[in-house]
Symmetry: C2
Subunit: 383 residues, 2 copies
Amino acid sequence: MPDSIPENSVGIVKSQTLQFNTAIELDCGQVLNEYELVFETYGELNQNHSNAILICHALSSDHHVAGYYSMEDKKPGWWENYVGPGKPIDTNHFFVICCNNLGGCKGSTGPVSINPETGKLYGPDFPIVTVKDWVKSQKALSDKLKINKWFAIVGGSLGGMQVMQWAIDYPDLMYHAIVIAAAAKLSAQNIAFNEVARQAILSDPDFHQGRYYDHDTKPRRGLMLARMLGHITYLSDDSMRKKFGRDLREGKINYGFDVNFEVESYLRYQGASFVDRFDANTYLLMTKVLDYFDPASEYDGLISTAFKNTLAKFLVISFTSDWRFSPERSKEIVKGLLDCHRDVSYFEIKSHQGHDAFLMPIEDYMNVFSAYMETAATQKGLL
Amino acid sequence: MPDSIPENSVGIVKSQTLQFNTAIELDCGQVLNEYELVFETYGELNQNHSNAILICHALSSDHHVAGYYSMEDKKPGWWENYVGPGKPIDTNHFFVICCNNLGGCKGSTGPVSINPETGKLYGPDFPIVTVKDWVKSQKALSDKLKINKWFAIVGGSLGGMQVMQWAIDYPDLMYHAIVIAAAAKLSAQNIAFNEVARQAILSDPDFHQGRYYDHDTKPRRGLMLARMLGHITYLSDDSMRKKFGRDLREGKINYGFDVNFEVESYLRYQGASFVDRFDANTYLLMTKVLDYFDPASEYDGLISTAFKNTLAKFLVISFTSDWRFSPERSKEIVKGLLDCHRDVSYFEIKSHQGHDAFLMPIEDYMNVFSAYMETAATQKGLL
């Protein structure tokens, strides 16, 4: 954190929590009779509630999208580059909300919450949720906040999947659907990476069938491996080359298994620090949410049929160096929308940062995103 | 194994072992005073020893390139598609040798051999070897076998790296260098995947600092994860899609962590079966051999300078869907050779099988490989 908060930041923020007592029936058949969602908001909701934007978060992120928790806070929210006064999602005009999703570990009901039926932590008993379940819970949140129609729902990666599901499940409750670096479903390779990550956690002797809390431990090794692997897929070969090349930590080969190359040091650090801030049961759940996402499966396997009843105007953005969800995957979304004559704008942004590009300040991406939002806001009379 | 051995197979084969009592000084500075190499040969060595081909094996393979060990043997050697009578490496004309590399676990001296100084298994004390060390030991093997000059040295993946090192270190001891699906050095992404694999093994509580033999166990979980991850990088996204798609094992989502998708089942099977046939310490070593390979580093970082003294005619082959060592990496080799005016033929084979393509019977690949070998053999008067 700098000495003072930057002027184009939403500044000091605070999260809020809402309790929901209306049962939610999940795709897996289980019912949550009560649950909590933690969320943050930035900007002001206007009088007729027409300027609200919902941001959906990805695998390991949360509701802390922008701003700082205190003057001492070292890092802002995960999308500080894109959400704030004068930024693409301009908090001078828009009221922005993001909630930690069900099953998360940052305050919303999930594995590290108390199961009211047992008085103990849910742990591995927390049901496997789906993108559809999340959208349902986000709809409950919008009802509580009296937002009848979202100006836009926005998300990158797994967040973009929630946006698509919203557009399919609640077509008349949103104007704009902004889907960034996402896919209409995971490929076998995507699932394979998730499976290795899961096996790393599940096979860690400290996992204790997910009841590691009772053993006063956690599957550190497994979660660390999962995160290291994840990081490889978030970066491109090119960005790794730019970032690390074959640089040696101590200038020479050590003929041993200690850190030798810079990239090893980076991965170990990323893995180790993740373990301190994320829950393994939540990580397992999130990978399953990704694997199971396939809205077309309810529509004869055709994404264009799934999109048929959507009413939102879509903005789809992909990044050339993203090999986790490559531009080809975004084009499948665009083709699905065009096949059923939906309104869609598509931009493929040149970048070397891989999947992580969706979080990065990239000029073309910023410009396209800002221009789209400004035009949309002007058309709706918000500017 | 079919009821009878196919006619175009080298048939029933037997491995041989040679003991070397001349010390070999390794790149790491350690010295092996004695070592053994296990190898197989196919075809007949001609009178003037001019028809010998050395095949160099990759990460997890070994000296069993072709043929069967018995009539009951279920699977032939790993390059049965390419080595045999009438095949690209035609054993009607050529005498073919492949040895298990130093540090291996299939019979050559390595972690599972007895350290003569202690009378116990080397285990983690086996020194970290390099491609250069391997080439040195293969040179010792050729001396014993009285092969003064190889007709060709051939290898795919890590095998291709040995071929390049041979051409650099012993330029006048070979006529042809055949480098398939390889790279002149690993990228940061390649090293990163290896590092995750290593961490999976090293952090397995059953690893016991590499002394798992003494504990009557092995790091099954770690080695399994390493192999699962490896498999993802051997296949292409496309080949995984063709092979598994999003097919579900039992036709429906199970909302749990048991095998759900076919690709999960495949990976778990590949991982589990590997553990039964491979040693974890050897796996760790092999990944380091890969990471450290960088012949240009001895020549001001320029691969063209490294290649300057080579005399071999090169054949370089890559595969369009190989993302572990992509065609771009092969083109770096070709460019390095052209920059110093070496003789090189390059073929980029269209394929969907990813890195594994180099093992597969692909028509274009077979044709190119056969044509090259035939022409070369004719020129040398072997046909």
